[in-house]
């Protein structure tokens, strides 16, 4: 039961193409994040969804209704801005009541709804303040209450946390997640912060250069990235370029500089391939570990963070490798010769 369907959207600014054939199916009540670096087209896509930008090609449907050409004011989409965009000449109450008055809701229903929304964001005692008398986090919560007050079909969030400091950001993420569960509204969030995306979203669309690289759950994106960009953008990763070959029996062998292993390659065709290993899947030891792929390495340095240490290593081939190591009994010193090992099951083929 798809609610919002984005089909083959292209967007040109003059000769520059900002979006290439973007398609997404977003279910009703889903929390989706558009994640990507700046210039990836995520904000352009959000503006198109909000109706502030036109499309050069493609269409958007909401519950089967074509809304591609609809003006922003006719879409019934809530919008939360990076800079809050609260009306400075109105109180918190008037700000939240604004979309309700636009909809000619009766006066007492407006009052009830405003209360309800303020309770939802836990700001009931600030009802008669002006936005300038609130902190950034409070203003953003008022903006959220205002954008949800009219029960929009979809809530669009344009980097809502980027103006807030780290601690507030984490609190607001938690709150957003809860509000999403309470209301069941479809949320579409835009961010360049992969942690924020992973914490909150049901599914994440990773965008790069105007294209959607992959649209999947945080788990799938992290463990089975479909593209090298996704592997590198989400979390830390070690990528080994190499070649995949098939034996007569059908089992696959991956060869790269200094390593060779059998692995489950599914139905992948032989040829050039990249192998990704996450740093937490690499074990460091002073002797080769049995049943694992062992790579002799030299410790270049480490970052100790109490629970664990992140090592920067240099392999015999000259490649860099990063690995998390338990740091309970001290860290490996700089210049130490170690064996970095990983299990083929933990490695993922990309591309």
């Amino acid at each position: 039961m798809t609610s919002l369907e984005i089909r083959k959207i292209d967007k040109f600014y003059g000769v520059h193409q900002a979006l290439f054939d973007v398609s997404l199916s977003i279910g009703k009540g889903e929390f989706v994040t558009l994640l990507g670096p700046s210039g990836s087209g995520k904000t352009t896509l959000l503006k198109i969804l909000a109706g502030f930008e036109t499309v050069s090609g493609g269409e958007i449907t909401l519950d089967g209704r074509n809304i591609t050409e609809l003006k922003p004011e006719a879409r019934n989409f809530g919008l939360v801005f990076q800079g809050y965009a609260l009306f400075p000449h109105m109180t918190v109450r008037e700000n939240i009541a604004y979309p309700l008055k636009v909809r000619r809701m009766p006066r007492d229903a407006v009052a009830t709804r405003v209360r309800e929304m303020l309770d939802l964001v836990q700001l009931a005692r600030f009802i008669d303040r002006k936005p300038s008398e609130l902190s950034g986090g409070q203003q953003q919560r008022v903006a959220l209450a205002r954008a949800l007050a009219f029960r929009p079909d979809v809530l669009l969030l344009d980097e809502p946390m980027s103006a807030l400091d780290k601690k507030l950001r984490v609190d607001l993420q938690e709150e957003l997640r809860q509000i999403h569960q309470t209301l069941g509204t479809t949320f579409i969030n835009v961010t360049h912060d992969q942690e924020e995306a992973m914490h909150m979203s049901d599914r994440i669309a990773v965008m790069n250069h105007g294209r959607i690289e992959q649209f999947d759950t945080a788990f799938a994106l992290y463990r089975h990235p479909g593209a090298r960009f996704v592997a590198e953008f989400i979390g830390k990763s070690n990528i080994f370029p190499g070649e995949l070959t098939r034996e007569d029996g059908g089992s696959a062998i991956f060869r790269a500089e200094g390593m060779e292993m059998r692995l489950d390659a599914g139905s992948r065709t032989p040829g050039a391939a990249d192998l990704m290993v996450r740093p937490e899947d690499v074990l460091l030891g002073t002797a080769p570990a049995a049943g694992r792929v062992n790579l002799p390495a030299e410790v270049l340095g480490s970052t100790y963070s109490g629970d664990r240490a992140l090592y920067a290593l240099k392999l015999a081939s000259g490649r860099a490798l990063s690995a998390y190591g338990a740091a309970r009994s001290g860290v490996h010193p700089e210049g130490a010769q170690v064996f970095a090992s990983f299990s083929p099951e933990d490695a993922t083929l990309i591309g």
């Binding site: 922003p72 004011e73 989409f77 009306f87 604004y98 205002r146």
Partner: protein, 258 residues
Amino acid sequence: MSKVVYWVSLSFAFFFLAAPLLIVLPLAFNDSSFLTYPMEGFTFRWFGVFFDTPPWLSSLANSFKVALGTTLAALLIGGLAAMGVMLLGRWGRIVMSALFVSPLVIPSVVLGVAMAYAFGRAGWGGGYLSLVFAHTILAAPLVFLAVTTSLMGLDPELDRAAASMGASRWRRFHTVTLPLAMPGFATGALFAFITSFDEVVVALFLSTPQTQTLPITLFSSLRDRLEPTIVVVALLLSIVSCLFILALNRLQRRGAGR
């Protein structure tokens, strides 16, 4: 160094701007019909003369009528122009702004001659309407500039936010844009009023004895009979100006407070 500059500019401001005014203003209370020091005694007599002798009060009333008319017309024209220009693209904005501001750079003598001629031809020279019209041309650019400045300071996301909540273009304009641009309109209105209220050159060309404004009466009585009433007028005008400056100051502080 900066201290020297500060004191030099301060003393210049005092001796050339403030001192002449301060020297002349006490003469409004001088108990003599000549504008001379030392003062011969303290009196409010000349205020009485101002309020009783014919041309003064009626020309004050004329000034107010013309200035109010000008303020309204300039607000309408300058304000509409500013809002229209904001909707244009970059180049359109530059060209149209230059056009709307251009009356400021035309010498008022030229305007005065042109208008006296044109209105005379049209057959409504000398009336209030012609004065209001001429002053509006001078004042509208000031309103235009003040309103443009406050509109430019508005966050464009506010309009988008209102749109996303379902507000139509007109509703967004009168519930969000207009209230937030209000300080610009108020500043423009004050400027327009002052501009008209103490405008001499164009009024000299256009006013008749019936529509004579206060600055013109002041100017002609300066030539005819030099008596302390002139200083009374000067004092009253200064007070009006001071009140306006105070009002402007308040407006700016309110604008900055947001």
